[in-house]
C-alpha cells in the first residue's frame, strides 16, 4: 500500500472516541468487591423476593467454583489481561429516584447525556414512537412511557420493575435459555446483575413500535451486569434495539451482560445492537471488556429469531448471539459487522443449534480490521440427530485496512443428521489501492473513498437494521473511520 494510503489508514485506525464524556449524576455505589454480601446487598437494594435472592446465591456459589478452578474461558483468539473482580463495584445507581412520568421530570444532566449520545429521546417520543429504556450504569433510569404498548398488553420495563410487577413471568423464564451454569461470565452476571430490560409480547400481538434500550456505563470503578429477558408469545412480533456507550477512562471496565429471548409458535423477534462501548485509546489503555452471552430459543414451531449487530466499541469483545432452533420449521439469523481499530480485539460470531425438523439458519458476518487490531469470527453450526432437513448458509467476509491488523475465521460444524445441508463461504480482502485510486480519480477524497468502500462491504448487514438505526449505524461507522485528515 502506498505511503499516503497507509498513513491515512493509520489515522483512521486511531480516530478519537466521541462518547467519552462523564455525566455528573450523583450515584450510589455498592462496596467494592465480590462476596455473598455483595449479592445480598444488591438483592436487598432491589427489594427482591426470596426466590430470586436464592437463585443469585446459587449462581454466586457456582461462579466461585468456576473461579477457583480457574475456568475463565481462554479458547477465544483474545489476549485478556487479569481482571481483578475484587476491585469492581457491582452496583451503581443514580441517586435520584429514577421514576418519571414525563421527560420534564428527568434529571437535566441525564437529558444532556442523551443529547450528547445523539439519542433524540424527545424526537422519538413525539415522532417515531420508539420506546426507550435507558440503563445507566446498573439500573434502568427511564422507560419512556407509551400508551400504545399498554393498550396491546405489552410489558416493557426495567428488569427490576418486572420482578416487582410480574414476578410469575420472570420466575418462569429467567435462566431458561442462559442458565447460570452456562459459562463463567453468565454465572457472574446471574449473581450480581443489577438491572436490565424485560419485555413480554402477549399472544397475537405485533408490537407497533420498536423497543429500544440504551446502556451506558458512567461511574468509574464499576462493572455493568445487566440482564435482558424477552418473551414473545404465539404469533407475535417484536423488533428490539440495543445501543451502548461508555465514558473514556484509563481503566478497563467489565461489562458482562446476558440476553435471553424466547419465541413461541409463529413468533418472530428481531434483535438489533449497536455496540459502541469505549474501546480504549490508540495505545490500548482503558476500554470496556465486553463479555456478553446472548441467546434465543425458537421454542415454538415456525418461530424466528434474528440477530443483527454492529460492533465498533469495547477494547475486548467476546460475544456470540446464538439461536437454539427447537421448534420445527424455525429460523435463526445472525448478521454482524465487527469493526476493530487501535488495539481492539474482537472474537464474535454465533451458534446455530438445529434441533427441530426443517429448521434453517443464515449467518452473514463482516469483519473489518484496522490499526493493530485483531478481529475473529467464531461460529458453530450444529445439526443434532433429530434436525431432519436442517439448512445452514454461512458467509464470513473479512476486510483489512492496513497491514498490521489481523482477521481470523473459525467455523465449526457438527453434523449429526445426514439430511442436513450446510454451506460455508469465506473471503478476506484488503481495501485495494486500486479501489481507492479509482475513487480519488473521480474527485473523492481518500477518507471518503474508504468510507464508501467499507460501507459497501457492510451494506447487506446494515440493510437489516431498522431504518433510524441504520442511519445511526452508518454515521457511527463513518465517525469510526474518520481520521484526522486535513
Amino acid at each position: 500500500m502506498s505511503d499516503t494510503s497507509t498513513d491515512l489508514l493509520h489515522q483512521v485506525a486511531s480516530s478519537e472516541y466521541k462518547y467519552g464524556f462523564v455525566t455528573n449524576i450523583e450515584s450510589e455505589k455498592a462496596q467494592v468487591g465480590l462476596s455473598e454480601d455483595t449479592v445480598r446487598f444488591i438483592s436487598a437494594k432491589k427489594n427482591e423476593p426470596e426466590w430470586l435472592l436464592e437463585w443469585r446465591l446459587k449462581a454466586y456459589r457456582h461462579f466461585i467454583t468456576l473461579m477457583e478452578s480457574d475456568a475463565m474461558p481462554d479458547w477465544a483468539h483474545l489476549n485478556i489481561p487479569e481482571i481483578d473482580l475484587q476491585a469492581i463495584s457491582y452496583y451503581s445507581a443514580p441517586k435520584k429516584k429514577p421514576e418519571y412520568e414525563s421527560l420534564n421530570e428527568v434529571d437535566p444532566e441525564l437529558i444532556s447525556t442523551f443529547k450528547r449520545l445523539g439519542i433524540p429521546v424527545q424526537e422519538q417520543e413525539r415522532l417515531v414512537g420508539i420506546v426507550v429504556d435507558v440503563v445507566m450504569d446498573s439500573v434502568s433510569v427511564t422507560t419512556t412511557f407509551n400508551a400504545e404498548l399498554d393498550k396491546n398488553g405489552i410489558i416493557f420495563c426495567s428488569f427490576g420493575e418486572a420482578v416487582q410487577k410480574h414476578p410469575e413471568l420472570v420466575k418462569k423464564y429467567l435462566g431458561r435459555v442462559v442458565p447460570y451454569t452456562d459459562n463463567y461470565y453468565a454465572a457472574l452476571n446471574s449473581a450480581v446483575f443489577s438491572d436490565g430490560s424485560f419485555c413480554y409480547i402477549p399472544k397475537g400481538v405485533r408490537c407497533p413500535v420498536e423497543l429500544s434500550t440504551y446502556f451506558r456505563i458512567n461511574e468509574s470503578g464499576t462493572g455493568q451486569f445487566e440482564r435482558t429477558l424477552i418473551v414473545v408469545d404465539e404469533g407475535s412480533y417484536v423488533s428490539y434495539l440495543e445501543g451502548c456507550t461508555a465514558p473514556q477512562r484509563d481503566e478497563n471496565q467489565l461489562h458482562a451482560a446476558v440476553v435471553e429471548i424466547i419465541a413461541m409458535d409463529d413468533a418472530e423477534v428481531k434483535y438489533s445492537t449497536i455496540q459502541n462501548w469505549y474501546p480504549g485509546n490508540a495505545q490500548g489503555v482503558g476500554g470496556i471488556f465486553n463479555f456478553v452471552t446472548k441467546r434465543g430459543i425458537c421454542e415454538g414451531d415456525r418461530s424466528k429469531i434474528s440477530w443483527t449487530q454492529l460492533e465498533t466499541g469495547s477494547s475486548i469483545t467476546w460475544k456470540y448471539p446464538s439461536c437454539i432452533l427447537k421448534g420445527d420449521d424455525s429460523v435463526g439469523e445472525f448478521y454482524s459487522v465487527a469493526f476493530t481499530k487501535g488495539k481492539q480485539q474482537a472474537d464474535t460470531g454465533t451458534k446455530m443449534i438445529h434441533i427441530g425438523k426443517n429448521t434453517s439458519s443464515t449467518i452473514i458476518s463482516k469483519g473489518i480490521s484496522a490499526g493493530n487490531s485483531q478481529n475473529a469470527y467464531r461460529g458453530l453450526v450444529k445439526m443434532t440427530p433429530g434436525a431432519e432437513n436442517g439448512r445452514n448458509f454461512s458467509q464470513c467476509d473479512s476486510m483489512l485496512l492496513g497491514d498490521r491488523c489481523g482477521a481470523h475465521t473459525y467455523p465449526y460444524l457438527e453434523i449429526m443428521n445426514p439430511s442436513a445441508q450446510v454451506e460455508h463461504e469465506a473471503t478476506t480482502s484488503k481495501v485495494g489501492e486500486d479501489q481507492i485510486f479509482y475513487c480519488k480519480q473521480r474527485g473523492i477524497s481518500e477518507i471518503d473513498a474508504i468510507k464508501l468502500i467499507v460501507n459497501g462491504f457492510c451494506k447487506e448487514i446494515l440493510a437489516q437494521l431498522p431504518m433510524e438505526f441504520a442511519v445511526e449505524a452508518r454515521n457511527l461507522l463513518a465517525i469510526e473511520l474518520e481520521g484526522s485528515v486535513g
Binding site: 499516503t4 480519480q441 473521480r442 473523492i444 464508501l452
Partner: protein, 254 residues
C-alpha cells in the same frame, strides 16, 4: 491546457524506467491520439498524469492549465478537471453507482465553486448522460462496475466522464474489447462531449477508433518517448505498416 516536458518515470518498486523523456503539448479543445505497441508505456503515462501511486517522476515537468500537475494529489487533479477513463475499470462491491457519482460530482462541483446539485437534478443528469452511451438507467442502483459486462464497464467510464465534465480527459484503450456497435456508441458519446474547452487524449491500439473520433494529432509512443507525430493519416499508415518501420527510422535518426 497540458504541457509535458522531458518526462522521466520509473516504477517505484524496482526502479525500472518506463518513460524516458516524453514531450507532449495539448491545446484547448484538441483531440490527441497516442498509439504504440504493447508495453510501450501508454498506461503508465495515463497513470502518472492521473496521480496514481507507485511511480516515481525522476525528471521533467507537467503543467496543467498553468499549474504544476505533479504537485497535486490524485483527487485534487480530478477536481481540477482531469479525468481518466480506465483501461480496466475497478469494481466497488456494495457501492451504488448513484451514491458514488453523487459524491464524485458534488466534490468536483464544490471545488470548482459550482453550487451543489439537488438530488432531483443529479438524478435527471444521470438519466440524460446515461442515455448518451445507451446505458440502462437502472444501473444507478447497481454496485459500481460489479457484474457489468466488458462493454458496460467501458461505457460506464464515458458516462462518468460526461457526469464530471472535465477539462481534460484521458481514455486508456476505451475501444479495446468493444464490438463495432459498442465502439460506435462510445465514439458518438465522446464526439458529443467534444468542445472548445475540453481536450482529449485517446490512448489506443487500433486505428479503427480514430475512424469515429477524428483526432487533431496522432503520436507514436515507443520506448518511453513520443517518436513520431502526425495528423490523422498517420494512424492509417501505422495500421498498414505496423511499428517496425518507425523503429528503423528513429534508429537511423539516432
Amino acid at each position: 491546457m497540458l504541457e509535458i516536458k522531458n518526462l522521466h518515470v520509473s516504477i517505484e518498486e524496482d526502479g525500472t524506467e518506463i518513460l524516458k523523456g516524453l514531450n507532449l503539448k495539448v491545446g484547448s479543445g484538441e483531440v490527441h491520439a497516442i498509439m504504440g505497441p504493447n508495453g510501450s508505456g501508454k498506461s503508465t503515462l495515463a497513470s502518472v498524469l492521473a496521480g496514481k501511486d507507485g511511480y516515481e517522476v525522476t525528471n521533467g515537468t507537467v503543467a496543467f492549465c498553468g499549474d504544476d500537475l505533479l504537485e497535486l494529489a490524485a483527487d485534487e487533479r480530478a477536481r481540477e478537471g482531469l479525468f481518466l477513463a480506465f483501461q480496466y475499470p475497478i469494481e466497488l462491491p456494495g457501492v451504488s453507482m448513484s451514491n458514488f457519482l453523487k459524491q464524485a460530482v458534488q466534490s468536483v462541483r464544490e471545488h470548482q465553486g459550482k453550487e451543489a446539485l439537488t438530488s432531483g437534478a443529479l438524478l435527471q443528469m444521470m438519466k440524460e448522460k446515461a442515455a448518451l452511451v445507451h446505458l440502462d438507467p437502472a444501473l444507478k442502483s447497481r454496485s459500481v462496475n460489479e457484474g457489468f459486462s466488458g462493454g458496460e464497464k467501458k461505457r460506464n467510464e464515458i458516462f462518468q466522464l460526461a457526469m464530471l465534465e472535465p477539462k481534460f480527459a484521458i481514455l486508456d484503450e476505451t475501444d479495446s474489447g468493444l464490438d463495432i456497435d459498442a465502439l460506435r456508441i462510445v465514439a458518438d458519446g465522446v464526439n458529443h462531449l467534444r468542445s472548445p474547452e475540453r481536450s482529449f487524449l485517446l490512448i489506443t491500439h487500433y486505428q479503427r477508433l480514430l475512424d469515429y473520433i477524428v483526432p487533431d494529432f496522432v503520436h507514436v509512443l515507443m520506448n518511453g518517448r513520443i517518436v513520431m507525430t502526425g495528423g490523422k493519416e498517420l494512424a492509417l499508415e501505422l495500421e498498414e505498416k505496423g511499428y517496425d518501420w518507425i523503429k528503423d527510422e528513429t534508429t537511423q535518426l539516432a
